[in-house]
């Protein structure tokens, strides 16, 4: 409810500001933190704002929203059959890929922007820079795209940028429960006549909170102590449980 009130308030300000100021685009996020607590099942963040000129006027203006997460290294392996058993065979390493990537737009980017602009702003899976080491085979890149999309961490036009009235717009970014912690960049681009004429960068932090955060940081920071704690807790739980559930 608080988030909703905040949206209404910010929207009001934006609408006023959008019409008065010279900035062609103003955008805001429904929240600047995504908190992973013990009950976390994924989260959804709203990007919303207003443009100075009416969208779809003449010449038409379009909006693109792109969210990128912290980079990570991944290995893609192909399964091979050895004596009837499926093993992990040849592999390709991609040392720097975005852990999260979501693209949304009022139209598809290839309809409104030429190739060099799309490449400069890394818009669309085709324009992600995915440096690879190991087996040089385009099938591995294709597999990376497919698998990342399958678990919801890379999305292309999964949700639209929708308009309300002439100047207001919003887009929803969905984070799956497997989302990484770290800083996320969200870019809002305004496009007219095949060029990006304005951009605004927003940032979002995904972090663990509460018990989940304490457990994860203890396990990383003091693994030996964490191991001892796991032993003690499991032994205690086993002993206590047998006392409680004893059936005689």
């Amino acid at each position: 409810m608080k988030a909703f009130a905040r949206i209404i308030w910010v929207l009001g300000c934006l609408l006023g500001a959008g019409m008065a100021s010279a900035s062609p685009i103003t955008a805001e996020l429904s929240t600047d933190r995504v908190e992973i607590s013990t009950g976390f099942t994924g989260a959804s963040v709203l990007v919303f704002g207003a443009t100075q000129n009416p969208l779809g006027g003449d010449p038409p203006e379009d909006l693109i929203v792109v969210a990128t997460g912290p980079t990570q290294g991944v290995v893609v392996r192909r399964k091979i059959n050895v004596l009837g058993i499926w093993l992990n065979g040849p592999s390709t390493r991609f040392p720097e890929v975005p852990g999260f990537y979501a693209l949304a737009g009022t139209r598809r980017v290839w309809e409104i922007l030429p190739e060099e602009e799309r490449r400069q702003y890394r818009l669309g899976f085709d324009n992600l820079r995915l440096r690879s080491e190991g087996t040089r085979n385009p099938a591995f890149r294709a597999a990376l795209l497919e698998l990342k999309q399958a678990d919801g961490r890379w999305q292309e036009y999964a949700a639209p940028v929708s308009r309300a009235g002439e100047r207001l717009f919003s887009a929803r970014i969905a984070f799956p429960d497997t989302v990484q912690t770290g800083d996320y960049q969200i870019e809002v681009l305004l496009v007219r006549e095949g060029r990006v004429i304005a951009r605004q960068e927003l940032s979002l932090r995904v972090e663990r909170v509460g018990t989940a955060a304490d457990i994860a940081s203890l396990a990383r920071g003091q693994p030996l102590l964490y191991g001892v704690l796991c032993i003690v807790l499991a032994a205690l739980a086993g002993w206590l449980g047998s006392v409680l559930f004893r059936r005689n």
């Binding site: 893609v76 399964k79 429960d177 030996l224 499991a234 032994a235």
Partner: protein, 304 residues
């Protein structure tokens, strides 16, 4: 009710985990085994990463076996000297096993290797159990009692470093228990099991220990080896998920009490035949997964 697992970094239905814990606990109470060999494959089946499934499985086995060990120890059914000898081997074995596990994880072969270990070990143990119990059932029907010598002398008794195990009424070399402890410790680290289902037959048939003392002594080994595996997995692989362990334990401890109450109504041979069939079916199910053409030709994993 979804719950977020901080080490597995995913959310799972808590009721599903409680249910799995209860079911496995019920079977383990019924058959008097730890149930790790069922638990770890089930966890992998619902999508828990295999490294986390193995490490948390070992942690759960520890909790599930503690109360059994206390009960057996009160009745004086633990041969401490034999237990410590087995554990000395188990300590080395599990340390080596965790190293092998870490290496497999780096090569990206953990899933396949863990499945392969399961298929081979469970296949052999399950087949032996079924064969042994079916022979026993047939013999009882024909009414002929098996002729077994009280104490057989084999080449094992010729080995050096003999030690007297008073509670087990044995005077044997320390080498066989050390080797058995080592082997089972290693498998326990790689498969996330306590190893009771392998240890009990090994103690009866290879070492020739009296049955009364076998369960308590094997629980001693299982508790301490799985504690060691938990510690090493948490320390060197970082894959013990305490939230997962606790949910499984709550279901498991409750289930074990119901299973144990029902187990007293079944006859020994029948119980062993059923357990053997259960072990065999897990092995066949995992073998099927290995042989089947995978639905996706590629896998993806983070660089650690």
């Amino acid at each position: 009710m979804q719950v977020y697992l901080p080490i597995a970094e995913m959310s799972v239905d808590a009721l599903l985990l409680l249910g799995i814990g209860f079911g496995v606990g019920w079977l383990s109470g019924l058959f008097g085994v730890g149930g790790g060999f069922l638990l770890t494959p089930l966890l992998m089946l619902i999508g828990i990463p295999s490294a986390v499934a193995v490490a948390s499985g070992a942690n759960q086995t520890l909790g599930a076996s503690v109360s059994g060990l206390i009960a057996q120890w009160r009745r004086g059914n633990v041969d401490w000297r034999m237990g410590l000898t087995l554990f000395a081997g188990g300590l080395l074995g599990s340390a080596l096993g965790v190293q092998i596990f870490a290496l497999l994880k780096r090569w990206g072969q953990v899933d396949v290797a863990v499945s392969l270990f399961y298929v081979v070990i469970l296949g052999i143990v399950g087949a032996l159990m079924v064969r042994e119990s079916v022979t026993a059932l047939l013999r009882r029907r024909r009414g002929t009692a098996p002729k077994r010598k009280l104490h057989e002398h084999t080449w094992l008794h010729g080995l050096p470093f003999k030690l007297r195990f008073r509670d087990s009424r044995l005077y044997i070399s320390v080498i066989p228990p050390l080797v058995i402890g080592f082997g089972i410790g290693m498998l326990s680290a790689i498969m996330g099991v306590g190893g009771g289902f392998m240890l009990v037959p090994a103690m009866i048939y290879i070492l020739g220990m009296p049955t009364a003392i076998v369960i308590g002594t094997s629980l001693f080994q299982v508790v301490f080896v799985s504690a060691n595996v938990t510690l090493l997995q948490a320390w060197q692989v970082g894959s013990v998920d305490i939230v997962l362990t606790m949910l499984l334990l709550v279901g498991g401890v409750a289930g074990a009490q119901f299973g144990a109450a029902m187990g007293t109504k079944l006859r020994g041979e029948e119980t062993r035949a059923l357990l053997g069939l259960l072990v065999l079916s897990v092995a066949i199910g995992l073998a099927w997964n290995l042989l089947q053409t995978p639905s996706r030709a590629f896998t993806i994993s983070p660089i650690s």
